[in-house]
Every structure is written in structure tokens, then in C-alpha cells.
């Protein structure tokens, strides 16, 4: 029953993803690997769309993955799945908000969870990196080392890195500008 499995997988992501939008990414890769519902490259595209449309990124990605997997009912079920743990947990702790915030075990738990989340997101980033900047398949078939690198993509990545991190005024622009610009570069330079 695909709907039950969808709900379960996204409930898990909602329960264990700590630290905002990108934190759901490692879970989505895990779903992709264990179910085969969508590919890694589809997932990277979904991240881009989720960043460029209104709404929280985590919710957008759940809706998108759900839709890709099982149409409109899938979109609804995946979204309900990812928000269900939040609703349950928040309703439970809402009455004791102060006590929860000041509880030393909660604090200690999150002290351990935050670096975990960073490590997981970085590992998911490596998967996108492999896909976007390297031609692993081409390299495997030709064996020529220069075939491994997608030089156009690496150049674009370098430019984006500088623009989004170091150039005043430009670095504070919304990600959607960089995504749109990258799409144009992709078409103009035939990526």
C-alpha cells in the first residue's frame, strides 16, 4: 500500500529532521534509496523548485515527492505525514513551554542533534555534488580522467560560491535569483 508507506516515510522525516528545511534532505535521499520512487537527480530538481516557490522548504519537498510518487493523493498524504509529528509534539509540550525550554535533558539532546543534522545535510550535499559537477558515468565508460569533471558546471559553482558568500549586496539576495540565473546559464551554455 503505497499511501501508507508514504505516510510512514514522511512521518519519520518529520519526527527525526531537526533544524529546518534542508534537514529533511537526508531523509529524502534515504527514501529514494530504499524505495526507488524517484531518482537522485529528480530530488535535486525538487530542492530547486522548493526553494523557488512560496512555503516552507520542508513542506514543499514533501508535497513534491508525494506528488511525484503517487499523484495528488500522494502529495496530500506526504505533507500530512511530515506535519503530523510536529502537531503531536507541539501540542504535548505547549502547556509546559518554559519547562521544556529549560529542561537540561532537552538541551543536552539538542546539543548532540545539531551537529548530527549538519553532518547528514553535508552528506546529502555530496550526492548532489556528484550529480551536478561530475560525469561519473561518462568517466566509467571512457576511463579518461578529464571526462570525470564537468568543467562548465564547476566554473558556474565557483562563480556562485563567490557571489553568494562574499559579494556585498548580491550575497543577501534570495536564493531564487541564483536559481533563475543558473537555469539561464544552463540553457545558454548547453549544460
Amino acid at each position: 500500500m503505497i499511501y501508507l508507506r508514504l505516510f510512514y516515510e514522511f512521518f519519520k522525516a518529520g519526527l527525526f529532521a531537526v533544524g529546518g528545511g534542508m534537514a529533511t534532505l537526508p531523509f529524502l535521499y534515504d527514501i529514494s534509496d530504499s524505495t526507488g520512487w524517484f531518482t537522485h537527480s529528480q530530488l535535486a530538481d525538487m530542492v530547486a523548485v522548493s526553494e523557488s516557490t512560496p512555503g516552507p522548504i520542508g513542506v514543499n519537498m514533501a508535497t513534491y515527492v508525494g506528488f511525484t510518487t503517487a499523484g495528488i493523493p500522494g502529495a496530500v498524504i506526504a505533507t500530512l505525514g511530515i506535519i503530523a509529528p510536529s502537531i503531536i509534539i507541539i501540542l504535548l509540550i505547549a502547556k509546559a513551554l518554559k519547562a521544556f525550554r529549560q529542561n537540561k535533558y532537552v538541551d543536552a539532546t539538542f546539543y548532540g542533534l545539531r551537529p548530527c543534522s549538519v553532518g547528514l545535510i553535508a552528506a546529502a550535499g555530496v550526492l548532489v555534488l556528484k550529480l551536478a559537477l561530475f560525469n561519473t558515468e561518462l568517466y566509467q565508460s571512457t576511463g579518461v580522467l578529464t571526462d570525470l569533471f564537468n568543467f562548465k558546471a564547476i566554473a558556474l559553482a565557483a562563480v556562485l560560491l563567490v557571489l553568494t558568500r562574499y559579494v556585498k549586496k548580491i550575497k543577501d539576495l534570495h536564493p531564487i535569483f541564483f536559481i533563475a540565473a543558473s537555469a539561464v546559464v544552463g540553457i545558454v551554455f548547453a549544460f
Binding site: 530547486a48 511525484t68 502529495a75 505533507t79 539532546t109 548530527c116 550535499g125 537555469a183
Partner: protein
């Protein structure tokens, strides 16, 4: 009943206007929830937001549940949360439907190949930003690197890492490794 509808509409608005989530949402919540409707004070909003960040799940959703709950109890929490995700459901479903039928056009493929490069950079930037807040001492540095290396090379569910790191956080704090 009126207030439930109002909760749904207010949070649907927040959902539409939140581009990218996270901190982008705060000014919109301030305007819709604090200034216009007086449903919570700025301080309460910051409290909810702080707790929303240190509970699992999407931060925007957690904040919506808090405020809905405060206004109208459990039902209010659920309605506000449904409100905040409603725009995503509609917009993403539309876009996903359209994109699926254009996915095979060469120009669309090239555009997404370019976009994927951008996604790499955006993820990298998110990681460095979170790194600063999370990796504060030797213990968290070790934890972060260990999780990264193991999850790159082994096929382990991220949920397993999350559970183990929660336990490690408590253990490290108990034995006094924290902050060293």
C-alpha cells in the same frame, strides 16, 4: 468557528508569503499575527520560534501549531498548521504537474542541469551556516565529522544517526565533555 477560519486564512497567508522558510518567516509572522491580529506578543513569537527550532519538524509548521493551540486549543493547532501548508500543496502540485510534462524538452533539461549546480552551492552555504551554530567544541566536531563520513560511505538510515546523537548529546553533557 469564525476564529478557526481566520486562523486558517492567516496561516495560509503566512505560507504564501514565506519564501524559503526559516528566518524569512519572522517579519511576516510579526505582521500577520502580532500587529494585525494581536494573537501573540513579539516575545511569545520569539519563544515559539526558538522552541520550533529545537523540536523536530519544519519550523514554520511548529510555530503555526503553537499559535493555533494558544488561540483555540488542539483543533486550533491543527487548523493553523493545515493553513500554513495549504499554499504549498496547491502551488507545488501545480508546478510538479506542469514540470513533469516538460521534463523531456532539451532546454528544460539544460536549465535543471544549471540549477543543480546552484543547489549544490545553496546546500554548502546552509551547511556552513548551521556549522557555526552547531559545532561549538571538540565533542560536537567529532560527532559531526563521524556522522558525515559514516553516512557518505555506509547505507544507514539518518534516523539511526539522529537517535544515537541524541544519546551522545546527553552522555557528553553528563561526563563534562561539553564546551571543551
Amino acid at each position: 468557528m469564525r476564529e478557526l477560519i481566520d486562523l486558517f486564512i492567516a496561516f495560509a497567508k503566512v505560507g504564501v508569503m514565506t519564501f524559503g522558510g526559516g528566518y524569512a518567516m519572522i517579519p511576516i509572522l510579526e505582521r500577520e499575527i502580532v500587529d494585525k491580529r494581536n494573537w501573540a506578543s513579539s516575545e511569545e513569537l520569539m519563544d515559539y520560534y526558538a522552541v520550533g527550532q529545537c523540536t523536530p519538524g519544519v519550523i514554520a509548521v511548529n510555530t503555526a501549531t503553537f499559535i493555533g493551540q494558544k488561540r483555540r486549543g488542539i483543533l486550533g493547532g491543527i487548523i493553523a498548521t493545515l493553513g500554513v501548508v495549504f499554499p504549498s500543496l496547491v502551488i507545488i502540485t501545480l508546478i510538479a504537474g506542469i514540470l513533469t510534462s516538460f521534463a523531456d524538452i532539451p532546454a528544460v533539461k539544460q536549465a535543471f542541469a544549471g540549477i543543480r549546480v546552484c543547489v549544490c552551492v545553496l546546500i554548502f552555504n546552509a551547511v556552513t551556516k548551521l556549522w557555526k551554530k552547531s559545532v561549538t567544541d571538540k565533542a560536537t566536531l567529532a560527532l559531526c565529522l563521524l556522522v558525515f563520513i559514516l553516512s557518505v560511505f555506509l547505507d544507514i538510515s539518518p534516523a539511526v544517526f539522529v537517535i544515537l546523537c541524541a544519546a551522545a548529546g546527553i552522555l557528553f553533557t553528563k561526563v563534562g565533555l561539553r564546551g571543551k
